[in-house]
Amino acid sequence: MATREQRLKFMAEALDMAEEALQTSEVPVGCVFVHSGKVVGRGRNETNETKNGTRHAEIVAIDRMLASGFQLEDFQQTDLYVTVEPCIMCASALRQIKIRSVVYGCGNDRFGGCDSVLNVNTDEGLDGTPYPAEGGFYKDEAILMLRKFYVRENTNAPQPRKKANRVLKTGDLDIESSS
């Protein structure tokens, strides 16, 4: 079992992936898969670029890993670090590939499948293998990333909604905002 310090180190790498998503106007969620203390896969949201609402960070990373020769059975000794609690779809996907455990940043009140809306990771009688999931690692950083996305004016939109008067709220987060 990784120490809290090790977990935060991997979560920082997941946040880097979320930052990359933010830079390309994707909902900023990022993840890394860790096997034997090493990052063996990375992903970030690609739903806008692909016009496919299922291209979440976790699914993208799993696809790339399998395509580049990572063995399906090795997920059983692999842990996922993801900035936002996996949605119900991803929570089920992770169960079906038999992930060992999931560490996440902030919860996902709208879609969360590892506590917030459903408990896909632990409920009995579903496909795959149940797994533990624990949140709260760089939670505020993950939330701040999402808020930066949602205050942004969308320049690609044909009729941009007025977001100019939105302000980035950070008072409730225990971190400094750099932008």
Partner: protein, 276 residues
């Protein structure tokens, strides 16, 4: 005309399948002439009813009226007695009332025996499949048997995409079909000048490209696939075989409180060629 045995049954939502649950209220018993006096006393001195707007305030018996004073969750019995002390009203029975509104006739018939309630069935209870649609649905189910998951435009009945599962742990047929719809959209956008793009939406609303589509499958989609259908904003799902670990059977994911999109689900029998 249609003597076939092709059946289409709408799968109830979790709310429609909900069993009766109750909360408790303080009541008092009065003669009918006193009603308006009591109601104005209640309005002035007692906490409003919250979250049980479907519950009727008054229950009639052959000789008297039983009236809800307030919810037991709102104030303690001691507080209530103190408020009633200088009035002409007395505390009667503590009664159970249904804590959610009935949305099916069956629920209404059970709920109202506990305490009188209003019944306003929501619009999606009245979905009807027309004879023309039955043929279309039968035809697409038969297609699904050959081609995997099929997605169609409900108005024109045109097939948008179909896909079978691939040899990959996550590429189930529904996931692949959603991917095909996305690829078709990307290809179409590339071939159009920007000003004419059909779906040139704000980028934070992308991923809704299956919005309103009818989805046909032989087997109920798993939890992952059902959530993918929620994310993709489909309109209706039709399948033949339910699955115990499926997203509809296990979680009622088509109409779950807390999820931001709901869709209708129909379980069908296997159609004959003559049904299509």
């Amino acid at each position: 005309m249609s003597s076939t045995s092709f059946e289409i049954t709408r799968i109830p939502t979790p709310d429609e399948q909900r069993a009766l649950t109750t909360e408790t209220v303080y009541t008092t018993t009065i003669s009918p002439q006193k009603t308006s006096q009591l109601l104005s006393f209640i309005a002035k001195h007692l906490p409003k009813l919250t979250g049980i707007e479907h519950v009727k305030r008054v229950r009639k018996t052959s000789t008297f009226l039983q009236v809800i004073l307030c919810q037991t969750s709102a104030i303690t019995e001691e507080e209530l007695l103190r408020i009633l002390k200088d009035s002409e009203w007395t505390l009667g029975e503590i009664c159970q009332v249904p804590d959610t509104p009935p949305i099916t006739a069956d629920q209404f018939s059970k709920w109202k025996d506990v305490w009188p309630v209003a019944f306003r069935p929501p619009a999606q209870n009245r979905v009807e499949i027309t004879e023309e649609e039955r043929k279309y649905i039968a035809g697409q189910i038969l297609r699904s048997e050959q081609e995997g998951v099929v997605m169609c435009q409900p108005k024109t009945h045109a097939v948008v995409a179909s896909a079978t599962a691939q040899d990959h742990p996550l590429r189930h047929a529904a996931m692949c079909c959603i991917g095909k719809v996305a690829d078709l959209e990307l290809a179409r956008n590339d071939s159009l000048v920007p000003a004419k793009r059909m779906h040139d939406e704000p980028s934070d609303t992308a991923g809704y490209l299956c919005e309103g589509l009818d989805v046909f499958a032989i087997t109920e989609p798993c939890v992952m696939c059902c959530m993918a259908l929620v994310h993709s904003r489909i309109g209706r799902l039709f399948f033949i075989n339910a699955a115990s670990g499926g997203g509809i059977s296990y979680y009622g994911m088509h109409a779950r409180k807390g999820l931001n999109h709901h869709f209708s689900v129909f379980q069908c029998s296997m159609p004959e060629k003559s049904d299509a």
